[in-house]
Amino acid sequence: MLIYILKRLGLALIVALTVSVIAFALLRASGDIATALAGEGATPESIAVIRQTYGLDRPVVVQYFAWLWDVARGDFGQSFFFRTDVAGLIFGKIGNTLILGGASLAIALALSIPLGVLAAIYSGSMIDRAVTMFSLLGQALPSFFLGLALIMIFAIRLRWFPASGTDGWRNFVLPAVTLGYYITPPFMRLVRAGMIDALNTDYVRTARAKGLPARRVVFKHALRNALVPVVGLVAVQLGLLMGGSVVVESIFALDGLGYLAYQSISYRDFPVLQAVVLLLSLAYVVLTLLSDIINAWLDPRLRAA
């Protein structure tokens, strides 16, 4: 098991490095950064100065390894736009994104598990159809449209929650609902399908034969097994969550990583963008690994392997 984890960690590192190479190559291939940084009407002299200051006059490969060497030592460089340390910048904002992500995930699970179970128990009925429609609607509503609609209703009309900012927990409610509903459908489908399978298994029949109350049969015996694949989905959904957070954080002007990433793109703040991309790809591979480990823990049959 330990060897397996180490192997996977190694793979995670290689994957993250590959992503960073691609990101690096893409950014450098896109034109002259120094010219862009200097802004319109800059003299050739000032461009040359910028080029030298940021080491942009070196070959791309050298630049990459220099960057990698710095990153390995924990130095992500200086932000072009904010003129501060990138690591500090990210560190200051990552908390908000984690809160948003965690709250959205909690909302998604709180919606999808009961609704998925309900749809599975009454599969084929009107309840099932209503739940399916609700999930299809969640897939179809663009998160920015839902976000703006929520602002219109709950921030402007009802004044229950603020429309933007990052001052307190109230600021997170509308973004978390937007993002949570956005990632609910895949979870709901998985819970529903898993529960339909689980309710038809022999061990659920055994549990019923033991005379256990329906609640216990559904929630202990069936749900436990139906939830195993959901853990795996959490990791995969991180990508969706991150993409969604870029959109949602910019609508609600929530000061998190997604908003920072969006700003870094708008301002061509490459050190920040590179760091965020590297961080997200690392997070993805590590979370996938983590979900595999949790799966093994949830399913005793996999534990020995």
Binding site: L11, V15, A16, T18, V19, I22, A23, L26, L27, S30, G31, T132, L136, L137, Q139, A140, L141, P142, S143, F144, F145, L148, A149, I151, M152, I156, I196, V236, G239, M242, G243, V246, V247, S250, A261, Y262, I265, S266, R268, L273, V276, V277, L280, S281, Y284, V285
Partner: protein
């Protein structure tokens, strides 16, 4: 037993009867078809030129509002352009992008999946690796960055999304191909000396076609939403092109006064994506035999 002779129903008749058993497919594909027709015949349907600005008629509300007029059924936007006409032309942008992206991503993903599933071994290891790399890339960020760097145009958006969104195709095609490869008739085709390309294109591909169609519908819907999100963030299709995402973005600053500027393209977007997914769901039900 008395044998009752009946005429075998025609192919079309059978297909129609199967369709009738799947109302979601019927409704979904009906709406999509309607949208496709609207897109094709946009110049004939649209009451006005979607690009002509009329400063004297800015932000006129739709006809059901007190100040609305039949001249502009859905009102006008902040530059005085007819909103219905922009909405109709926006169908073109969404559908064109949705289908073009899937044409590219489907080709890439299917090719990779076929190769990995059929050859296995090192090819499979390699493809699995690049799929993992692709999954580890934050799509929205990379897409936003590329559009920011190369400039926003419809073709840049199509290319970048096409080059990014092939993962689902690759994963599903790979596993399906693995299953099909193990079947007897592929083995006999191999021993009969059929070329690999022939086997892949004539034997394997037709057998994974149903799954491909289902993924394609999901991916068209997803690409349409993604284009809208990119355009909304200002890093997708550029003005004055009428993209629904862009229309919402442009209306953002007016939302306090005229929320319908956001609600109308938002509803159109949701309806189209909903219909495509509904059709995809129905298709999946139709091709997967019943469980019980």
């Amino acid at each position: 037993m008395t044998a009752i002779t009946t005429n075998p129903p025609s192919r079309a008749g059978r297909a129609f009867r199967r369709l009738a058993h799947h109302p979601s497919l019927l409704i979904g594909s009906g709406i999509v078809l309607l949208m496709v027709l609207i897109a094709i015949f946009a110049p004939l349907i649209a009451p006005h030129d979607p690009y002509v600005q009329d400063i004297s008629r800015r932000a006129v509300p739709p006809v059901w509002y007190e100040k609305g007029t039949w001249e502009n059924i859905l009102g006008t936007d902040q530059l005085g352009r007819d909103y219905l006409s922009r909405l109709i032309y926006g169908t073109r942008v969404s559908l064109l992008i949705g289908f073009s992206v899937v044409a590219i991503s489907g080709l890439i993903g299917t090719t990779l999946g076929l190769l990995a599933g059929y050859f296995g071994g090192k090819v499979d290891t390699f493809v699995t690796f690049i799929v993992t790399v692709r999954l580890a890339m934050p799509v929205i960020l990379v897409a936003l960055a590329v559009v920011a760097l190369f400039g926003g145009s419809m073709w840049v958006v199509i290319t970048v999304l096409g080059l990014l969104k092939w993962d689902r195709f690759a994963v599903v095609v790979r596993s399906t191909t693995q299953q099909i490869r193990a079947l007897d008739y592929i083995a006999s085709a191999r021993t009969a000396g059929a070329s690999t390309a022939w086997i892949l294109l004539r034997e394997v591909l037709p057998n994974i076609a149903p799954q491909l169609i289902v993924i394609a519908t999901i991916e068209v819907a997803s690409a349409i939403l993604m284009e809208a999100a990119l355009s909304f963030l200002g890093l997708g299709v550029q003005p004055p092109l009428p993209s629904w995402g862009l229309m919402i973005s442009e209306a953002k600053s007016y939302m306090f006064f005229s929320f319908w500027l956001i609600a109308i393209p938002g509803t159109a977007l949701a309806t189209l994506v909903f219909a495509i997914n509904l059709a995809g769901d129905g298709l999946r039900d139709m091709i997967t035999p019943e469980r019980s």
